[in-house]
Amino acid sequence: MARHSPDREAWARRRREGSVIDLSPAVLVTHLFTGLVLGMILVLLAVGLSLIFGLMTVVNFAHGSFYMLGAYLGFFLLGLTGSFWVALALAPLAVGGAGLLVERVLVRPLYGRSLDDPLLLTFGLSLVMIETARLIWGRIGVTFDPPRELGTAVSLGFTMFPVYRLFVIGVTAAVLLALWVFLARTDLGLVIRAGSRDPLMVQALGVDLGRIRFFVFGIGTLLAGLAGVLAGPMRGVYADMGVTIVIESFVVIVVGGMGSLAGAVLAGLLIGEVVSFTTLFAPKLAEIMVFIVMAVILLVRPSGLLGEAGLLE
């Protein structure tokens, strides 16, 4: 019979007390994937923000509130229909529809005014959305479960990992790929990219930029809604869930560089991993590390990892 050696027991005790950090492959792989999941949610938000910002020079402060709306609508539709898949399909569409309405009624009158005005307006809007959510769904958050077929864990070789999180990685990767193909390979995508560069020239060429902006605001908020439904079962649903994460998405944009889809993906994943691995070493520092990364980037490469200096400033 192998007895536990005193060494081993001391080690186990220090492990429990948290003075030793477990760096086994199982723990590392788990953190790698956890970081990937967080990163993908951040990328979905940052890409939408970045598209809206690029084409419309609108900083949509309410982006986090659309994310929150997506999560609550997912919860609501799941309760109504009993099917996660229906909720996953419909909630982002409904959020995108709300986004279209907001663009038409609130944002459009502000084109041509100071660039600060849309930010101020969407700040007010986000207060209104948060308080409305509290009125409808209560001041305490709600939770909803992933569908049963995704509720299990799967072996990653070293360790078990929830299938639902792998599913989130897969869905966001597929959506981002589709978005990239759309922007890079279609005529409409070309117009959107051109409009971000030089809106005056694009209009001079006879493109109705108003309609394109309407459409892009819808797409951006739809992506935020999708991120919300996906994040709901993992992070819980509460009225101001969007504020912290929208600030982190701003950081992703600053780090990645404006006007670069690849930059947003790179920065989002980088920040997701940084947060996840910081949790391993110093849990209290996790939220702070996001901003340390941003400060370092501002010092050494102010235009961001893949951004062009001066674009959209």
Binding site: D117, L121, I247, F291
Partner: protein, 317 residues
Amino acid sequence: MIRRVRDGLAAHPVAAFLAVFAVFPFLVPYRALATQVLIYGLFALGFNLLYGYTGLLSFGHAAYFGLGAYGTGIALARLGLGSVWAALAMGLGAATLGGAVIGFFCLRRRGIYFAMLTLAFAQLLYFIGFHLADLTGGDDGLRGIPQLAVGVPGLSIPIETPIRFYYFAFVLVGLAVVALKRILDSPFGAVLRAVRENGERAAACGYDVTRLKLLAFVFSAAFAGLAGALEALRLTVVPIESLYWTTSGQVVMMTLLGGAGTFFGPFVGAATFLVLEDRLGLVTESWPLAIGLVFMAFVLFLPRGIWGTLTGGSHAG
């Protein structure tokens, strides 16, 4: 008549401030509200120096308000400083230093990035305040700030009662108002407005625009810090929300409601906001919903704010 009063107020802002606020506590339902208007008015005044006069929209002014509040609170509650003046100086120093460091980073990007960066750095300070619980009290807030008497040469004046505290704050905020007026009337103040109107042209005239902006940022942070320090003395507690984004949002809304770029707008806005909050808070827990709607209506239809519209001054004037 009304027009003459209004024009008189606008022409002699310092005298008008002193006249109105000397009797203000007797014009509002209760004293605490008057003190709050003074303190948040000062906070908005600082924000307005940056946004209204320099054209830089900061969405993270909670950082300097919070640094002022925590600096003063920690000096009194943790370090056991025996002088209110020394504690105020610590709060003011913390906010000014914070403004210099964060301003340096945020001014590395222009335009709309700037707003996002200020917000991000304020969030950073919020998390730091949240996790440094030994020093800040974390989630529970910083408690146990003693209410010391204010020492002036030969005298020791207690400030426990609301009305005494009001006049203590009145003196300090009055000094800040005089200082702001001097800043705005100086050549530096004139160049700030030039930067707001056209940064490139100001640069072409040979001004170091980034340095000017940083200086405005630091002044603005100092005003916000003094407001935070006074709020810590008033409440004898520093809630963690002092550093939260909602506080940043509050000062933005106050300034815009009152009228950005006008001298009195911040006080008018602070009074409007606090009265609305007070009255609506009695009726419903959802008062931010109503204030959010009012704020949106102002951005859309009344971007010059209450005072800006009344005085007919342009957004720039």
